[in-house]
Symmetry: D2
Subunit: 226 residues, 4 copies
């Protein structure tokens, strides 16, 4: 590219930025406490916003969080009108499933696999009826041990499979956090710690974890912007 | 009453039946496996229908079941459009809560008390928005022992309190099955059996149990018909 | 009694106290975190020691705690040689059962009722083989609500029944804490609070709770000293 | 070795077999329902007995089962005097752990990992005090799916690690059923079925499973006989 061409190109981009009434793409992240923390400083949504800006897409994307601590799939279904649909998003990223598995132990109030799938599909159906694009995420981790010995590993793998199957059925993009975390931890958790690599407490993300999730989100969201 | 009077009366009733376009009151019973079984022969809805007919209210009431085994409060919420609202009922009787408590033990997939209340209120709100009258029931029993030693007694009492509180807040009629069962069993289960008085298996109703529930329902429904 | 008699009596008692090598009765309290805290200042064992001293039984009783947090009936069985038998007690007071019920919810590691009974009887058998007198206690509370709506009320009542049945079979004295707490709370918890009357956190005893337990223990232990 | 030597040797072995009152090695298999079924026709202990006989070790080994359905590690501890020590075994094979994990879901009466280890070590200690050789087994499966998505996979892996660690500490032979099953199923369960390959119901062994376990036991027991 010649210098002249460059100048012309930059100039026209510059003008576009000020003249074209850009339609921002609104993305809502819909989930639990991880997403609730995602809008805090160092949260994954804030980190993703930085990534977007570094990619010079200042005006293209508007990110919003809709996470509430302790939420399971049916909690999302219950509050989706007020917390998601009313915001008129273009894209909704669903990041749920950890509490559905985790709360089986503990309060004994997890979600059966068949009902998890039923509510998950019901949420997607309502979003798609409003022409909202849906991105799904598999649940990251409950415990960072890499020898498949975290108590809920089997169940998280099961629920991740359900999400992948739904995504395949409906041709939805998947942020496969379950797989990405496993792969990252295999390399970066050589002493088989149960927390402290990407999480503070086996579940909630530390700054590194938030950055990692932001990166994984970006890999899937970026191609959708073209 | 003279014979003549009787003939006249019967005649006029006969004519009314063919001439007056009676508006039937449609009642949908919305619940779990107990209600699913309620429409079977000997089920509580069938028994209630007999009671209604014995009261010479042949054409006044139309009873329908909308029960599905294993359902918890959020399952009702998920399927209420298709299974209840689309039937245009005048009255909906909500009979749910046993699985919300029971499944804590077992699969570990019960319902937290705060979410039980939230979904319960959400169901009522949707019904009332359609001008449907709502009747609520407290959950009957998981175990029939009368010395307060059935494993879930405490939790069932708790969830019953939640339902009574909602009913008081919203001035709804309550079929207090929890209380009615306790009272009946105090008298009729002198040897503290865990099943076989009103249930077959500590939860599901035997013929006597179905008749008993029908009777309790009738006590609350009958005054609503006037 | 004349003054002379009194003086002689007091004198002889005074001499006995200094001359007779009194055989102290050694009582070991065997249990969980409540008993572990029982030997702390304000703990129920410390309070009971004060009661004993107020009764002028300075030298008659030696109280010792053998409580470990989180213990269930089988944990007692595992450690009874080292922690109880090796101390050569005359009396052992078994106060266990709360964790056996409580941990069903939570970690999912409670104790089945039939195994609870089996281990409980095995502990008693081993104690009696050493000619140790056994006193049993029913489990106090998990939650102080008085309307039978604490989640584990049913199960605690069930396990209390098991203990009472064992005691009846073997003619053992029972400190029926379950019943005593219920009776006390009926009077002293008019607003149906779930904690703060006798416990700090629904389970562990506050100073009032420790004093109350000490008093209940004393009612059963005192007659055994005669 | 010359032919003459060979003949002499074979001859003397032949005579020994008929003249020497061979001391049989008594092996007791100590476990849960899988071991209880192990002494039934087609059970793994019966199959192992056939393997032993095929190896022409008719008189060398005496196999006995000491399995009781539903047993967890502490149940073994409770009944080890009557059911194992009183039989004067030379070798005890401990095969336990499935119920300790499995019953967390369900009745909520599994065993905490730290207590599992504590009781496991206590059993071994008692056996070794009697100069009994101990062989340990890792728990096989709860579900045969090969994609790490059986609900209890993580926990079974955890408890298997505990057993392997104990074995390493104490230099005990390990029948690593967990690993052996995983390896076998990887090859023989291409469609990721949850049962029917080595089990009838995800846990209990079918004839193929019993034969497989017998073979794995033999691999570890055979070298001990030399």
């Amino acid at each position: 590219m010649t210098s002249i061409t460059k100048i012309l190109l930059i100039g026209s981009l510059f003008m576009m930025a000020f003249t074209t009434p850009l339609k921002k793409i609104k993305v809502v992240f819909f989930g639990d406490s991880i997403t609730q923390a995602g809008v805090q400083p160092n949260g994954y949504i804030v980190k993703l916003d930085s990534i977007v800006k570094q990619a010079n897409l200042f005006n293209a994307l508007e990110l919003a969080g809709a996470g509430i601590g302790g939420n399971k799939v049916y909690d999302l279904y219950l509050r989706m009108e007020a917390d998601v649909l009313d915001k008129n998003p273009d894209v909704v990223v669903i990041y749920v499933g950890i509490n559905d598995v985790w709360h089986k132990a503990g309060a004994g109030t997890g979600t059966d696999a068949d009902k998890f799938e039923k509510f998950y599909r019901a949420i997607i159906k309502k979003l798609q009826e409003k022409n909202i694009k849906v991105v799904v995420c598999t649940p990251s981790v409950i415990g960072e041990k890499t020898d498949d010995s975290n108590q809920q590993d089997g169940d998280l793998n099961h629920y991740s499979s359900i999400i992948r199957k739904i995504a395949a059925d409906l041709s939805l993009p998947v942020v496969d956090l379950r797989k990405a975390f496993a792969s990252y931890l295999d390399t970066n958790n050589p002493t088989n710690l149960e927390k402290g690599i990407l999480t503070t407490d086996r579940v909630h993300l530390n700054p590194g974890g938030n950055l990692f999730v932001a990166g994984e989100m970006w890999k899937v969201l970026q191609p959708m912007l073209k």
